[in-house]
């Protein structure tokens, strides 16, 4: 039931919204993609902890019904599904999210039933944990890479390829000069990736047991 895969954590939340309020939530998310609420996303971008996050608003009739044999859903609330992939554990970073983008969080969970607001922390933390669903299988193509590493890697590859073509046939002296330019330009990206630190004793123990069982 691990929410952890390497350096990344899977957060799943489901929360109800009254049907007549849903249009506001949909509007908020639409506006978040425009200049109106772009600043809220700027906070998320600066946090740089998140690989991908999404919110899906599903009304009762939008729950897929694929066959007559499948009973029709009779629920009345609309449900918001939240999925996030971020670096660090929820316990560790809930403080960071709540302190850095409290108004953004309030917009994204606007009038969800019993949502207490992102400040103070303890009720917010309890609400999210109460409505959290544990992941049954979590996969990342790069467990050793945090979101920051992914972005740093892109910059290094791009610069490396340019560097290779710019330095063909140069003297050693000129090569060195170009090389110094390269490592200076990328000095904040040159660092080695290793496994994640242990963010959870429980998760670490489960991993150990799995490894033992696999022999």
């Amino acid at each position: 039931m691990s929410n952890i895969a390497g350096k990344v954590y899977a957060m799943n939340v489901i929360t109800p919204i009254k049907w007549y309020r849903v249009w506001i939530n949909r509007l908020i998310f639409w506006l978040a993609q425009t200049w109106v609420f772009r600043s809220k996303l700027n906070g998320l971008i600066t946090l740089s902890l998140i690989h991908y996050a999404r919110w899906a608003i599903v009304s009762p009739s939008q729950f897929p019904r694929l066959d007559e044999s499948q009973p029709k859903e009779t629920i009345k609330y609309t449900y918001m599904f939240f999925f996030s992939n971020f670096n660090g554990s929820w316990a560790q970073y809930v403080d960071s999210f709540h302190m850095s983008i409290p108004s953004g969080l309030n917009l994204f969970w606007h009038k969800n039933i019993k949502y207490p607001g992102s400040v103070p922390l303890q009720p917010f933390h309890s609400y999210i944990t109460y409505n959290q669903i544990w992941t049954n299988h979590y996969y990342t193509a790069y467990p050793m890479a945090a979101s920051n590493d992914v972005k740093a890697a892109q910059r290094i590859k791009a610069d490396l390829l340019s560097f290779m073509s710019e330095t063909k046939g140069l003297s050693a002296y000129d090569f060195r000069e170009k090389y110094n330019g390269l490592i200076k330009a990328r000095q904040n990206d040159i660092s080695l990736m290793k496994c994640t630190p242990i963010v959870s004793l429980a998760a670490a123990e489960v991993e150990k047991r799995r490894a033992r069982a696999a022999g």
Partner: protein
């Protein structure tokens, strides 16, 4: 389009599970058990699916009762929830699932309503699209490069960082020679050359 961000796509699927049981276990529980026991990292079946960045599965038993004065209500079916982040177009991605992880896909989805284990790739795509729900917002704080491109980038970051540290203080000639060796070994322009394997974890 809230399912896309650049070339990255966020697909959210709610796949209804057949209300039934087998060997005294509900289909939903069987699916969950199965998911829990799937191998991880590069051995995960999803590591075989081209262009998968990150994805997850969970079984949605029911909605939660928030407590008075909220109303208590229940779902009539349980759902296999599959949330995946990938590079490229959705139909192509789903085709990729069918062609590269057919056995595992059948095992995971076999108890879902409307899933045809013996169907075609097109049947699978159509089925999954019926299960898809649109995102209200898809936030991309990471890459939208192809997976091969991204894995190569990560491989190069790792190898080049090692190179820089190892060659600190080298003479100009030694540095240049070492770099030529580095290029030969790591083949930076070739996505099919040395790179990180999907799900690679030390």
């Amino acid at each position: 389009m809230p399912n896309k961000s650049g070339n990255a796509y966020g697909m959210t699927l709610l796949c209804p599970i057949i209300n039934g049981s087998k060997n005294h276990q509900s289909y939903a529980d069987i699916i969950r058990d199965h998911l829990e026991n799937l191998p991880l990292d590069s051995a995960s079946p999803m590591a075989k699916v081209p262009n998968t960045y990150l994805c997850r599965f969970y079984v949605l038993n029911d909605v939660f009762y928030e407590g008075y004065p909220a109303k208590e209500e229940h779902l009539k079916s349980r759902y296999l929830v599959f949330s995946t982040n990938f590079h490229g177009e959705p139909d192509e991605y789903l085709q990729g699932m069918w062609s590269h992880a057919l056995k595992e896909v059948r095992e995971i989805w076999q108890y879902c309503v409307g899933f045809k284990a013996q169907g075609t790739a097109d049947d699978f795509v159509a089925y999954m699209r019926k299960c898809q729900v649109d995102n209200a917002l898809f936030f991309n704080g990471s890459t939208d490069d192809s997976l091969a491109e991204q894995l190569k980038s990560l491989y190069l970051k790792q190898e080049f960082s090692r190179f820089v540290y190892e060659n600190e203080g080298a003479s100009d000639e030694d540095l240049q020679n070492a770099f030529m060796e580095f290029v030969k070994r790591t083949d930076p322009e070739n996505l099919n050359g040395p790179t990180w394997v999907p799900g690679h974890n030390e």
